[in-house]
Structure formats: C-alpha cells, structure tokens
C-alpha cells in the first residue's frame, strides 16, 4: 500500500522526459523537501560533508531509480519517505555534528529510497526512464546550491536559521506521519 502523497506527481511539460523529471522535483514537496534537508544538514557539517552528500545523494538516487524502474515492487513500507523528513529535519534542528562519511551514508539512504519510489512510479505509468536523468540533475543542482549557501554562512544567527528550517522539516514529517496513520471516521 502506498500513501497518496508518496505517489509521484509526474509532470508533463511537453518538453520531453528530461524536463518532466526536472519539473517533477520542483513540484513534488515529498521529494524536494528531503533534498533541501540533506543539503542543509550537509552544509552545516562543512564543505567535505557537502561534497560527499552532493555525489552520494544523486548517485544513489539514480541507482535507486533504475532499480525501481526495472524491479517495480512495493519494497519499502508506506511510511518510509517520512523517515527522510523526520531524520534529516531532526538532525539539522539539533545541529548534530556528523562526519562526511555519515552524511554520505544518510544521503545514499535517502537517494536510494526516493529514487526507488520515483522509478516505481515511472514504471507504473509507463513513462520513459530517462526522466530519472532530469530528476537527478535537478537534485544535484539543488544540493549544490543550497549546501554551498549553508557552508558559506558565517554569522551564528544564519546557522540558527538553518536549524529552524530543519525543525520545520521535522515538524512537517511528524504531521505527515499523523496524516498517514489517521483513522478516518466512518
């Protein structure tokens, strides 16, 4: 069973599958928010962590997408994307110091999970797999820009603002967990 919000909002731009993939990221908060969150977390942990996350996330996203495309099956539990929100948001809000390797591991996990779900969605509606190239390209650009911005922040208040943003992501994740578990009155 898949949550309604997890189902990819596959966009048709009329410009081809690559642009459809790029547009998908910017119009799907369930993918966009975790990408921004990993970029914020990586940026807070310094340039080495940001560089690791940049390549780990996009590489894993592409691999996960290809796997999902060719082995479309409900491999992950329905609430799994919420883990990205909760984990990345909480770590950012708490400003946990992580090694570049740990940040890369998180990025790989997030990339595989969301990439897999994208691949399964693409296969489900028989869209061209090349759209994954657009999705991962957009993710690469977002992580590069956001993490570089965070790395460049020097004032304490600016870094705290990043932590506040992390707390927002965690809060959204917790609310989404509530929505997914909510029992609708008959």
């Amino acid at each position: 069973m898949r949550l309604p919000f997890v189902i990819a909002h596959l966009v048709t731009t009329g410009l081809g599958p690559i642009y459809d993939g790029i547009s998908h990221i910017f119009m799907s908060p369930d993918d966009l928010v975790p990408i921004i969150a990993i970029a914020l977390l990586a940026g807070l942990n310094g340039p080495a962590a940001a560089r690791s996350a940049l390549f780990a996330l996009t590489g894993a996203w592409l691999i996960g997408g290809i796997l999902g495309l060719f082995m479309a099956a409900p491999l992950f539990p329905a609430t799994s994307p919420l883990i990205s929100f909760l984990l990345l948001g909480s770590l950012t809000a708490l400003d946990r110091r992580l090694s570049p390797r740990a940040v890369a591991a998180l990025a790989v996990a997030v990339g595989l999970l969301h990439g897999w779900l994208n691949g399964v969605s693409l296969a489900g509606v028989q869209r061209e797999g090349i759209g994954l190239a657009g999705i991962t390209s957009a993710a690469f650009v977002i992580v590069a820009l956001v993490s570089a911005l965070v790395v460049s922040l020097r004032p304490a208040w600016a870094r705290m603002a990043v932590r506040v943003a992390g707390s927002w992501v965690a809060a959204i994740g917790l609310l989404m967990l509530g929505w997914s578990l909510r029992v609708t009155p008959a």
Partner: protein, 199 residues
C-alpha cells in the same frame, strides 16, 4: 555597497519561485490549495497569531540562545500536538490552553521574565502542544496533507519571525518599554481569549 553572494542568491531564488507559482497551481490543484489552506489557517485565528508573535517577542527579550531555541522547539512540539490530534488523542481544555498560552506569554514579555533556557523552552513547548492539536489537523477534504502541513508549519514559523523582527527594538531603551507594553496587550488579549473559552 555590493550585496553579498548569499543575498543575491536569495533574491534570484525568490524571483524563480515567484515565476513557477502559476505552474504549480495548474499542475497540482490539491497541493496548491492545501498549501494555501495550511498557510492561511494559523493567520485566521487571532489566538494563534498573538501567541506565536509573543513567542518571538519573548525570544528577542531573552536573546541568544533562547532567541533561536524557542522557534526551533515550538514547531517540533507543535507537530507532536498535531500528531496526537490526528491519532484521535483528546486533550482536555485545548482552547483554554491556547488562551492561557497568550495570557502567560504576554505576562512573561510584559515582566521581561528571564527563566533558564530549559524552563523557557519547556513552557513554550507545553503550549505548542495545544496549538498543534487545535490547528494542525483541520485539513479540508480533497487537499494535500503534505502541502497543508508545509503551509501550516511555515506560516507558524514566519509568525515567530515577525515577533523576532519586532523584538529588534529591544536594543533601545524606548523599544524595551514598547515590548513590555506589547506583552501587556498580548496578556489582555489572552484574558479575552480565556473568557471566550470558558464562557
């Protein structure tokens, strides 16, 4: 003076985001409406608005690290309240709790109280549960829960930002007095909310 790279980046991003809004509205009507509903919902309740701004004002009075710790604490604990509401867990006296939050936060700002960071964060967190429980779960049918949650959390955070921005006046003597007067006004509003909740 030449703007810094970060400022220029933020300006460009804002322009880009402003440009894609119409496309978003056409592509996912439910999501766009959900975001707007969630964003406007906290702004539509004066009790929520007053209390959120008071959190920012109090943070500004307390200064760092409370200035930022309160806005970090509030949304996370507020989401716990929303989660409890969505799970069907009933909280006794939610409206009274919200009214008391405005009253107490107003008194704290008016008296320029300076408890420890732990106590301040605990107090704000305690009231956040009521706000999340009451306001975080009112999603109209057919709208995106994710978009609603994003709008709700962002609007609440921005209200904190408004309070913090107003609190900048705390660096001046007249500003400190003005903040205390504002706190008294919030407390009076809290009394009115409390009257409405128990009457």
């Amino acid at each position: 003076m030449t703007p810094s790279l970060g400022v220029r980046f933020l300006v460009v991003m804002m322009l880009v985001l402003a440009g894609i809004e119409p496309v978003l509205a056409h592509e996912q009507t439910g999501a766009a409406r959900g975001f707007l509903t969630g964003f406007l919902h906290p702004l539509s309740g004066l009790d929520h608005v007053v209390a959120m701004i008071a959190v920012g004002l109090w943070g500004a009075q307390l200064g760092p690290p409370a200035l930022w710790m309160l806005p970090v604490t509030f949304p996370m604990v507020m989401a716990v309240g929303g989660f409890l509401g969505l799970m069907g867990v009933t909280l006794p006296g939610v409206e009274i709790g919200i009214a008391l939050s405005a009253l107490l936060l107003g008194v704290l700002v008016a008296s320029e109280a300076r408890p420890s960071l732990l106590i301040a964060a605990s107090l704000v967190g305690f009231f956040a549960i009521f706000h999340g429980h009451a306001h975080g779960t009112e999603l109209p049918p057919g709208q995106s829960g994710l978009a609603y949650s994003i709008g709700f959390v962002v609007a609440t955070g921005l209200l904190h930002g408004v309070g913090i921005a107003i609190g900048v006046v705390h660096r001046w003597r007249a500003g400190r007095v003005a903040l205390r007067v504002a706190g008294a006004a919030v407390a009076v509003a809290g009394v009115a909310f409390l009257w409405g909740a128990v009457a």
